[in-house]
């Protein structure tokens, strides 16, 4: 058996003995679809027949939220909307026990003797995290289908929907999450402390992006002043102005937020308007190919740093 396969087998064995794996799955596979069904049922029973009853509108809303397709789509969108998002919480928790536990339980000295190929250890752990995340997301899709099917027994819903496109978005979101996984591994390994590493994973990108927003709001970019004169002299001003297009969080959730844009646009939401508060959250202006390239860039950078650090660091 190759070293990589051995590491993956061992890490999966460990992951299946970790309670948090099941808690995360329970939240995404059971709680979220159950809430969507409940929401659909409440809408149907409370709005149907009331003064707002426009039969078609209520039926459409119930279908969009609680049909098999609607719940499966919510399984993709929902985890990307909170802050920190469910995706990043899940990734940080997985990285916490797959990469951080060896430090907190003093296990590197055992792991790296049982399997001295550090590259195999790192790659195996990364792949297992991706497998766990993939299983979590695939489970969300399937449980959406299952709960939605149950919903068809008492709700006026059906199986229609763009299933192929949704599956594609799930796949893309999973691939994009690879950048977040490598970021979480890097932060946790670099900080030598699981808790600190997880805090960095949750808040560092938002902090950096927030600092940019403060800079933009206070100093400004357009007028020539001492601070941005350097950027202007280096002709980097355009790049500085366009920086938010390359922000980690803006691009990371592009696939899971896309269906929400598609859902809200027919209802009259104008994402091109600057005064729309959802514009900066959903970033409708970012194409999927742009986000894909940005995430690939981040993933490459984080992985290179991680590999360099992991293969060189002494285990004390």
């Amino acid at each position: 058996m190759s070293a990589l396969a051995a590491v993956m087998q061992a890490e999966l064995f460990k992951s299946l003995r970790k309670r948090r794996t099941y808690v995360l799955a329970g939240l995404l596979w059971l709680l979220l679809p159950a809430l969507m069904l409940l929401l659909g049922r409440l809408m149907e029973s409370n709005l149907g027949g009331s003064f707002v009853d426009e039969a078609e509108l209520v039926r459409t809303l119930v279908h969009e939220l609680a049909s098999p397709f609607g719940i499966a789509r919510a399984g993709l969108i929902g985890p990307s909307l909170l802050s920190p998002t469910f995706y990043i919480i899940a990734i940080a928790l997985f990285a916490g026990f797959l990469m951080g536990e060896e430090k907190s339980h003093n296990m590197w000295k055992t792991v790296l003797v049982a399997q001295p190929k550090r590259a195999a250890i790192l790659l195996g752990k990364l792949l297992v995290t991706m497998i766990l995340l993939g299983a979590l997301m695939a489970g969300a899709l399937l449980s959406g289908l299952l709960f939605g099917t149950i919903g068809t027994l008492f709700l006026d819903t059906g199986f229609s929907g763009q299933w192929g496109e949704l599956a594609q978005l799930y796949l893309l979101q999973w691939l994009y999450a690879g950048a977040a996984v490598s970021f979480a591994f890097l932060m946790i390994f670099m900080s030598r402390n699981v808790s600190l590493g997880m805090v960095l994973v949750f808040f560092l990108p938002a902090l950096l992006e927030g600092l940019y927003a403060i800079y933009r709001a206070t100093v400004g970019i357009q007028p020539l002043n001492r601070l941005n004169a350097v950027f202007q002299a280096l002709e980097l001003q355009v790049a500085l102005e366009g920086l938010p297009r390359y922000f980690f969080t803006a691009n990371l959730y592009a696939p899971s937020r896309r269906p929400l844009i598609d859902l809200l646009t027919p209802l009259g939401a104008d994402f091109a308007a600057d005064d729309n508060p959802l514009s900066s959250l959903l970033r409708a202006d970012l194409s999927m190919s742009h986000s894909g390239l940005v995430m690939l860039g981040y993933a490459t950078l984080f992985l290179l740093l991680l590999a360099w650090l992991f293969t060189r660091r002494d285990i004390d």
């Binding site: 058996m1 061992a10 064995f13 460990k14 339980h105 000295k109 049982a114 399997q115 002494d314 004390d316």
Partner: protein
């Protein structure tokens, strides 16, 4: 006999501090070698370098003729400092995880090592519920899991009761009998004495001695020997040894311990008799490893 463990000009520096300073030694296949030194001497750092966990600043080491870090580490079993485990898993699950990580270890081998260290009955309990002694035993079981040709054990008897210590000693002797090479460090020098044929003594990162255990004892014995003396008239004995200018230490109300150069030891009794001391007993103290070791460290300038 070929070399199992080799260190060549091995050094590890942390900033200006040299944890290990240019040490070289070879350990032949099948040998059991004791690694002695006070806390902070560099034992664990050396062992970590041999296990590929710490990169040497200069020099190199090899296991079974192949450089470390590298594939040769798959032939190594280690227990470095206090053994650690995933506390939420059982002892057996921890061994299974290590076995999967290494590859090529059967389930029956896990049962075998658990039985060997006497942990078969407690193996399904979570490690978080284990005592220190149980953790030591489980750590040893894990080190033996893939039938390593080389064992690197740092204080393997820490936290064990005297019966446990004796059992671990028997286990290690059995492992060595099967041809494994063992490098073992311990603070319990009496244990090392019963287990090893050769010792390495390290202090402040420098290798002070590398050779047979007997050689270490002889080296010290050649310099000083100690006698415990008892006389009918204790005051005259005390006066006489001071007159002779001997190193003296009062043992109790009737006995004194004196240390003399080996060359002077033959004439000690007659010189005391000449001073009118009537000895009831004169017993030469058997030199042991602990005494030899402590004196070796004192020679190196370490305060006793």
């Amino acid at each position: 006999m070929s070399t199992a463990i080799s260190a060549l000009d091995l050094s590890k520096r942390y900033g200006r501090v040299a944890a290990v300073n240019d040490i070289s030694f070879d350990i032949a296949e099948g040998e059991i070698v004791g690694f002695l030194g006070p806390n902070g001497a560099g034992k664990t750092t050396t062992m970590r370098m041999l296990a590929g966990l710490v990169h040497p600043s200069t020099g190199s080491c090899s296991i079974l003729g192949r450089p470390v870090p590298g594939a040769s580490l798959r032939e190594v079993g280690t227990m470095i400092e206090e053994p650690s485990f995933y506390p939420y898993m059982s002892g057996r699950a921890n061994l299974r995880h290590a076995a999967l990580l290494h590859g090529g270890v059967s389930t029956s081998r896990i049962d075998e090592v658990l039985e060997f260290v006497g942990m078969d009955l407690a193996s399904r309990k979570r490690v978080s519920a284990y005592s220190q002694g149980m953790r030591q035993r489980l750590g040893l079981a894990r080190a033996l899991l893939w039938r390593p040709k080389v064992l690197i054990l740092d204080e393997p008897t820490n936290g064990l009761d005297p019966v446990g210590i004796a059992e671990v000693r028997q286990m290690l002797l059995a492992v060595a009998k099967q041809g494994s090479t063992v490098l073992i460090s311990s603070h319990i020098l009496a244990e090392i004495e019963k287990l090893v044929e050769r010792v390495l003594v390290i202090e402040r990162g420098n290798l002070l001695y590398s050779g047979s255990l007997g050689g270490l004892l002889r080296r010290i014995e050649e310099q000083r020997v100690a006698y415990v003396l008892e006389a009918g008239d204790f005051a005259s004995l005390e006066r006489a040894v001071r007159e002779l200018g001997l190193e003296v230490e009062r043992r109790d109300e009737q006995r004194l311990r004196v240390a003399v150069a080996v060359a002077e030891s033959a004439t000690l009794i007659s010189r005391l008799s000449a001073l009118g001391v009537q000895l009831v007993e004169a017993r030469r103290e058997g030199d042991n490893l602990e005494g030899a070791y402590l004196r070796l460290l004192r020679e190196d300038g370490r305060p006793s």
